[in-house]
């Protein structure tokens, strides 16, 4: 890597003409569905905010849209034999947008400020026990025990922060005028309206970024976003539904992008609070529900077939995904038999809670589930809650014995959502079982990828045969760009890096 950069530098220096060509140019306009809540990564808890902040900062490592890890501010790194110490060798000659030089202290600052009480995302930082500066460009991070997901924490959080500037302006001042080492610098933020960023001329990776100005426009209404790309007022829109994507495909100036998203949707059974003592504690009942819900029908009718039926929490593209595992078929007859075996041949009535409007078509999915279960004699009392109520109590305490939700995880690893949904003591778990707990413990401390993949496959079988969920589907995401945009490659987590994106004048 370093040698390539040197060659590139030499080339650039010897050929001024090339240098001129490499100048970033043009303006890219992106529609955002909501205003970022902050431009400071430790407080970035929604997809939009994460996507926007990534343009301003750099992490030690980064993941591309295919899930491969690349060096960022760390040129290389070593992991100790006991898998608890990470030594990072940092890139030299990098500067923050305000001119402050980047050193190992910037990583210490990222860790310390990340742990500030009241932050929304403390757990990216709390996974490290200590951060030591070995020299100006070497830093060692220690985790208390082997932690398979620590690399994800590094990718998602741990963006270099300028210690001197932070000292000077404080956290609040920093939120108003954030400074990073990223490819773009913040020029203007008009809350609720726009964020304007300009290419950082001294970016450490020559040739990046390619556009001179990025304007992010906040457009809350989906129909308006679709209208705005039709008129060419914006270049990129995301979160399109199938119908909107179809409409835009007929437009010659617009290109529709589709990619699988990692969010697994599911109907959860609870063996905690309101689920205790209900028929869903019976394994046959849970299996019956998996047969009774017409998931292929839902995927086809509501999402135009643009997605995959889920077989578990390890989705396609996740480490350890098992293609051998076939989804439960739609078989109401089998469902009725299983219900009869479980002693519920005459049906029963049970509550299902739906987070109203939280995801695309989620209300309609809930209504269809109600309809399908009625067909096998189960009377579903459907309740819609606003999202703030839905997620307000520990263990989904405000919902009925069953609820519908979706869970995405970063970086192609299913562990965060498996752990989150099942591990005892976690805030949003809904089904706790000793067998699952044992698997999770083992997965969390196994670093070897092959071993992990095998463990994931075993766990998937376990969760398939004794299902704590009705696994629904994962969906394809639709986005659209105007035809003048090139190099836009969104990640499966619906975020993006704009380093390589260019626009025709």
């Amino acid at each position: 890597m370093r040698s390539t950069i040197l060659i590139l530098l030499a080339l650039l220096l010897s050929a001024p003409a090339l240098l001129v060509q490499a100048q970033p140019s043009g303006e890219l306009v992106i529609a955002l569905p909501n205003d970022p809540t902050a431009l400071y990564i430790a407080n970035a808890s929604d997809v939009t905010t994460i996507a926007v902040t990534r343009q301003l900062y750099d992490g030690l490592l980064w993941l591309d849209d295919k899930g491969s890890l690349h060096p960022g501010l760390a040129e290389r790194w070593e992991i100790s034999d006991d898998s608890t110490q990470y030594t990072f060798y940092l890139r030299e000659g990098v500067t923050f947008h305000n001119g402050e030089p980047f050193t190992a202290e910037a990583i210490v600052a990222a860790w310390e400020y990340g742990l500030t009480p009241g932050n929304e995302y403390p757990q990216y930082y709390s996974s490290a026990e200590s951060v030591e500066v070995l020299d100006d460009f070497t830093v060692r991070v220690t985790t208390p025990e082997p932690d398979a997901l620590f690399v994800i924490d590094l990718v998602e959080g741990w963006f270099a922060l300028p210690p001197r500037y932070l000292e000077e302006v404080g956290l609040e001042g920093f939120q108003r005028a954030p400074v990073g080492t990223g490819p773009f610098m913040l020029e203007e933020w008009v809350p609720g309206d726009r964020i304007v960023m300009r290419a950082y001329p001294d970016y450490w990776n020559p040739g990046e970024p390619k556009v001179e100005r990025v304007v992010l426009r906040v457009i809350p209404d989906a129909s308006t976003r679709v209208a705005a790309i039709q008129t060419g007022e914006v270049d990129i829109v995301n979160r399109l539904n199938v119908e909107q994507a179809t409409l835009l495909e007929s437009n010659a100036d617009v290109r529709v992008i589709s990619y699988p998203n990692d969010r697994v949707f599911y109907v959860a059974f609870k063996n905690l609070n309101s689920g205790m003592g209900t028929p869903i504690e019976s394994r046959q009942v849970r299996q019956a529900f998996n047969y009774a819900i017409n998931r292929p029908g839902i995927l086809q009718a509501l999402f135009g077939g643009h997605g995959q039926l889920a077989t578990g929490f390890t989705a396609i593209g996740n480490l350890g995904y098992d293609p051998e595992l076939k989804p439960y078929p739609y078989d109401p007859q089998r469902a009725r038999e299983l219900l009869a075996e479980a002693g519920y041949g005459d049906g029963f009535s049970i509550g299902l809670t739906c987070p109203a409007d939280a995801y695309t078509n989620i209300n309609e999915v809930c209504l269809t589930i109600q309809r399908d279960l009625a067909a096998v004699g189960v009377d579903v009392e459907l309740q819609f809650l606003t999202t703030s109520k839905f997620w307000s109590e520990p263990n989904y305490g405000s919902t009925g014995p069953m609820f519908v939700d979706g869970w995405s995880t970063p970086a192609g690893e299913a562990l965060p959502r498996i752990e989150g949904a099942h591990y005892p003591g976690l805030y949003y778990n809904s089904w706790v079982d000793d067998g699952i707990t044992a698997y999770v413990d083992q997965l969390a401390s196994t670093i070897d990828r092959e071993e992990r993949a095998a463990l994931y496959r075993e766990l998937s079988r376990y969760l398939f045969d004794d299902p704590p969920f009705v696994y629904l589907y994962t969906l394809n995401i639709f986005e659209a760009t105007t035809s003048r945009v090139t190099g836009y490659r969104p990640l499966p987590t619906e975020t993006w890096y704009l380093n390589q994106v260019a626009v025709d004048a």
Binding site: P220, S392, Y427
Partner: protein, 287 residues
């Protein structure tokens, strides 16, 4: 009002559930709660809040991590611009049209006036907003779709927001003119041989405009409410979108701050309307 707002927003759900990452441990959740003072008893939270609010301190947003007063002031100009534009548009069209239709009932302009009056009562503003985008932005490309960049961007949202009040004003003026025209002093003026134009301009119009004053104030407050839809659809960066986001995110401090701000604003406006009414209406002045 403060009490009402404080306790109702607290019932909307626990902000910690939405704010803190899903995989956070209970300890991290508790830390968030403590850092934002949600661990203290409600009564204590309320007293602290009341003290601050009376001192002009509206607290800090949970979600946006900045002082609420600052956030409100950032968004206020956009909302004011939109509401004032809509109000102005209503007046500019409603006043002449309402008077003409009252003076010449049955004329083509009267028909137009009645249609506008009808539209105000029968077309929901958010519905109209979407149709306006479809027709004038996407199909005809006459106006931009969204945002607040130039005067052009103001046109569609202002039209959508003004239709209800425009309709109401037209109807009000029309019947006021009809009523005033039958008053004795107008008959007297007519019998004295004054020309219709003079009568309309000097006698009918000023009297017919009096009830409009109170309607203007009320409509302005209603527009602040209606702006929640219109701003969302046109991506207009005002208080309406801020309030909508704050409610969706359970950002209690911000919801409280916006509500209190709007209440204070509305009360002030009410006072101004009363004063204006007293100044204009000779009957009120004599009191």
């Amino acid at each position: 009002m403060l009490v009402l707002v404080f306790f109702t927003v607290r019932l909307t759900g626990d902000p910690v559930g939405l704010m803190v990452a899903r995989n956070a441990t209970p300890e991290q959740r508790e830390a968030f709660r403590v850092a934002h003072g949600f661990d203290r008893p409600l009564a204590e939270q309320f007293i602290g809040y009341l003290g601050n609010a009376l001192g002009g301190d509206l607290g800090k947003s949970l979600r946006l991590h900045l002082p609420n007063a600052e956030l409100i002031m950032q968004r206020l100009p956009a909302t004011m611009e939109l509401a004032l534009a809509a109000l102005l548009l209503s007046l500019v069209i409603a006043v002449p049209l309402g008077i003409i239709s009252g003076v010449f009932p049955g004329s083509p302009l009267d028909l137009l006036a009645r249609l506008i009056g009808l539209a105000g009562q029968t077309i929901p503003s958010f519905w109209l907003a979407m149709i306006l985008i479809l027709v004038f932005a996407v199909n005809l490309r006459l106006f931009p779709t969204f945002g607040r960049d130039s005067l052009e961007h103001l046109v569609l949202p202002a039209v959508a927001l003004s239709v209800a009040s425009m309709g109401q004003m037209v109807r009000l003026l029309r019947s006021a003119v009809l009523e005033v025209s039958r008053e004795n002093y107008i008959r007297t003026a007519r019998s004295k041989g004054l020309s219709e134009i003079v009568i309309t301009l000097r006698h009918v119009t000023p009297n017919a405009l009096i009830p409009l004053v109170s309607v203007v104030g009320v409509n302005f407050t209603y527009m602040l409410g209606g702006s929640v839809y219109i701003e969302t659809i046109f991506a207009w960066p005002g208080l309406g979108t801020l309030l909508n986001d704050a409610i969706n995110d359970s950002d209690f401090p911000l919801v409280q701050a916006i509500t209190i701000f709007i209440a204070a604003f509305a009360i002030g406006l009410n006072l101004l309307t009363d004063i204006a009414y007293d100044l204009i209406d000779p009957r009120a002045r004599q009191r």
